[in-house]
């Protein structure tokens, strides 16, 4: 089986490459990258006018399996990933049960290989049951192949515990991904605290909750030398502190979601639970700081934070709705619309933040680059095709999205995993 992707613009930041060329794929690997390639009997995909990039990697997603299959499972979640142009996703540990031991990791890896459409990586819990009390068996999980540690969804409230967790994790060269929101300041809140929340009468989650949490954990990174990766930064102070930490040479990185780059708290005036998430969608000044952080390289990665819920769980009164929505199928379009089109990042920088950097951060040496001999994980996308988001057409089980009904410019056209086409023109074929 061979596949020839012809005439596209190869955007391959890991090699500093940006040129019109063909890619030939054979037996799951990249066979050649060059001009006017030909291959007898190969399937040919005409990528003229399209971007051909190393497969996009979402380093922060929730596939919900095991235990929460009414929201999502490996099959539906990876179909959504393929539809959105992702060839690999890293799924968070807040499942039922929590992914906090190696036996579970090994079993789930098998299951994801069986039913997954794209590649699935696992993030192990920092603490048993995400309770922030006892360390999970980090070493054992590292040997079982997890790519990072995180209690995502929960802030590790006890500073001494976080210190030990970071020290211990650093032995395994895996980063600690930090859901940074000081719980006591935000546990009752439902949206960003500010004039909009005051007018709506909704209890807020103030920016300072994230600011303080990020400050504490950067200090702990400095003390312990552990790699701290701040999940979904959403405040100007958090961006500024990560910038400062990087300037000092500390092992601190961070990521941002497409939704925090796209919306402001003004969008919550209709009390639409699709916009409810943690950390919350913040005000325009924060959004601008996030764009600035992307531009100057402070923010390493763009993520989906795909957090699907069954429709009936989100179809409730605003303050009763759970946080999160399904992001895999809109993330690339949202980034191209709200980051590329206004000129915040070049297309090369976008591929870097959505493929090259996530691969590097997760320690994936076989991804994030188009290179002869490497697995053929490839994403082809358009930067100018306009489409209207229709949540009912999603592959994910979680049919809720703040992007529903909006027009996005830019769309994944072809997703190739190990040389096999898993999505073509929006249709998932695996």
């Amino acid at each position: 089986m061979s596949l020839l992707i012809k005439g596209g613009t190869i955007v391959n930041p890991a090699k500093g490459q940006h040129e019109v060329a063909d890619i030939l794929v054979e037996n799951g690997l990249i066979k050649a990258i060059g001009q006017h390639l030909a291959a007898d009997g190969a399937d040919v995909y005409d990528a003229t006018g399209l971007i051909v990039a190393p497969g996009l990697i979402d380093m922060h997603t929730h596939l919900r399996e095991p235990g929460q299959e009414s929201k999502e499972d490996f099959h539906s979640g990876t179909q959504a990933a393929a539809a959105g142009g992702f060839t690999r996703v890293a799924t968070m540990a807040n499942t039922t049960p929590v992914v906090d031991n190696a036996a579970l990791v090994r079993g789930l890896k098998k299951q994801a290989e069986l039913t997954g459409v794209v590649k699935v990586e696992f993030i192990g819990a920092i603490s048993k049951g995400l309770e922030g009390k006892e360390l999970s068996e980090m070493g054992d999980m590292a040997q079982a192949g997890i790519v990072a540690f995180s209690d995502d969804g929960h802030y590790v409230q006890n500073a001494a515990f976080m210190r030990r967790a970071m020290e211990y994790a650093s032995m395994f060269n895996k980063m600690v991904i930090d859901h940074a929101e000081e719980t006591s300041l935000c546990k009752e809140g439902h949206m960003h605290e500010g004039l909009v929340s005051y007018e709506l009468g909704v209890i807020g989650r103030p920016a300072v909750a994230e600011d303080m949490a990020v400050d504490r954990d950067i200090l702990l990174a400095e003390m312990t030398g552990a790699h701290l990766h701040v999940a979904h930064v959403s405040t100007k102070h958090a961006v500024e502190e990560v910038r400062r930490a990087k300037a000092k040479g500390l092992p601190v990185t961070c990521e941002v979601t497409a939704q925090h780059l796209s919306f402001t708290d003004e969008c919550l005036r209709e009390y639409n639970p699709a916009f409810k998430m943690a950390p919350p969608i913040r005000s325009e000044d924060h959004r601008q700081a996030l764009l600035e952080g992307l531009k100057d390289g402070t923010i390493d990665a763009i993520i989906t934070d795909h957090a699907p819920h069954a429709f009936e769980e989100k179809d409730v009164e605003f303050c009763c709705a759970p946080n999160g929505f399904s992001g895999l199928e809109t993330s690339l379009g949202a980034v191209l619309t709200n980051v590329y089109k206004p000129g915040v990042l070049t297309i090369d920088q976008i591929v870097e933040r959505m493929s090259t950097n996530p691969a590097r951060l997760l320690g994936l040496t076989d991804a994030g680059v188009l290179e002869v001999g490497k697995p053929a994980d490839i994403t082809v996308f358009s930067t100018d095709e306009s489409w209207i988001v229709d949540r009912n057409k999603f592959y994910t089980k979680g049919k809720t999205s703040p992007f529903d009904g909006l027009t996005l410019t830019g769309k994944a056209k072809l997703t190739v995993v190990d040389g096999e086409i898993v999505m073509k023109e929006g249709v998932v074929t695996a």
Partner: protein
């Protein structure tokens, strides 16, 4: 006159209601008050209509005044409360609304702890939705009856200094008062502890104070909000004693206000906490009259949204 018609409209709050619409409601309420004060309180403009009072939170005055308002207008009115409904069996709010709306219901009057629930209801079902209080968001009929009571005594809201005192952050009455009275030309001042009144609220076109005397200086109207006693546990103020001493409305601090100041309170009162008993029952107090006006205003709202028109058919 005549161009404004509220027929078929839901009343979710006063933020998106115009001055002309507020004036229409208050004008009709005046006619309704005559009915409330008369011997024969039945005017059957809503005969053959049905109204469901869906109260997901406790209420005495709002629920009973909506119920009487509907009945005086000849509508059939039923009450649903969560403890007596399928909500306790885990039925979702959407399904409760659907069930209620498919019984030939023309309007649903709802109170709900969740801000935005009435807006959500309009997206779920067809009947007219009248918001009887959604969390800390809006309570439009309370603000309408506050304005009606002020008009009754002062003739106009234009240029009046209206002080709203107490727990603004958690008050749906405060927000509706701010939206409504600002449109009617009043000068709104908020006063309360820094934990319950945020300076950022000034962006809503009001003045924020943390000193009761400063706020009351030259006031025409004082609307005293209920302090929710459970707030002590969230460290929003130290003790009831301290609150009463520093922020309570009593005869002494009212000396800063105008001589003919009028006192409002949406109830239920904590006498001796946010309001001194001698103030609550003074000549300046309109608190009992507010309750009567509540029925008139709610009659006007139900009449205008369900029946429509401009009220010219009603006797003056």
């Amino acid at each position: 006159m005549g161009t404004v018609n509220l027929k078929g409209r839901s009343l979710l709050g006063l933020e998106h209601v115009s001055k002309e619409e507020i004036e229409l409601i208050l004008r009709v309420a005046k006619k309704m008050k005559k009915v409330v004060l008369s011997d024969d309180k039945k005017i059957p403009y809503l005969k053959g209509k049905s109204i469901v009072n869906l109260f997901m939170e406790p209420s005495t005055r709002t629920r009973s005044s909506f119920e009487l308002a509907g009945k005086y207008l000849g509508a059939d009115v039923i009450n649903i409360t969560p403890s007596g409904s399928s909500m306790v069996k885990g039925e979702s709010f959407r399904d409760t609304l659907l069930t209620v709306s498919y019984m030939g219901t023309d309007a649903i009057v709802m109170r709900h702890k969740a801000e935005g629930a009435p807006l959500y209801a309009t997206k779920c079902v067809k009947p007219i939705i009248v918001n009887a209080g959604d969390g800390a968001h809006e309570h439009p009929t309370q603000a309408l009856l506050d304005m009606y009571s002020i008009l009754e005594r002062k003739g106009s809201l234009e240029g009046l200094k209206v002080v709203i005192a107490g727990d603004i952050m958690h008050s749906r009455v405060a927000r509706s008062d701010i939206y409504g009275m600002t449109k009617m030309g009043a000068d709104i001042h908020l006063v309360g502890p820094r934990t319950l009144v945020y300076p950022e609220l000034e962006k809503m076109g009001v003045t924020v104070h943390h000193d009761i005397r400063e706020a009351l200086e030259g006031a025409d109207v004082v609307n005293v909000l209920r302090i929710q006693l459970e707030r002590i546990h969230s460290a929003l103020y130290p003790t009831n004693r301290e609150y009463a001493r520093i922020f309570g409305i009593n005869k002494e601090v009212l000396k800063a206000a105008k001589k003919d100041v009028m006192i409002l309170h949406p109830g239920p009162m904590n006498r001796g906490l946010e309001i001194a008993p001698d103030v609550a029952y003074s000549d300046e107090s309109m608190i009992q009259e507010q309750v009567r006006n509540g029925v008139s205003v709610r009659m006007a709202v139900l009449y205008l949204t369900i029946h429509g028109g401009d009220g010219s058919e009603l006797a003056d």
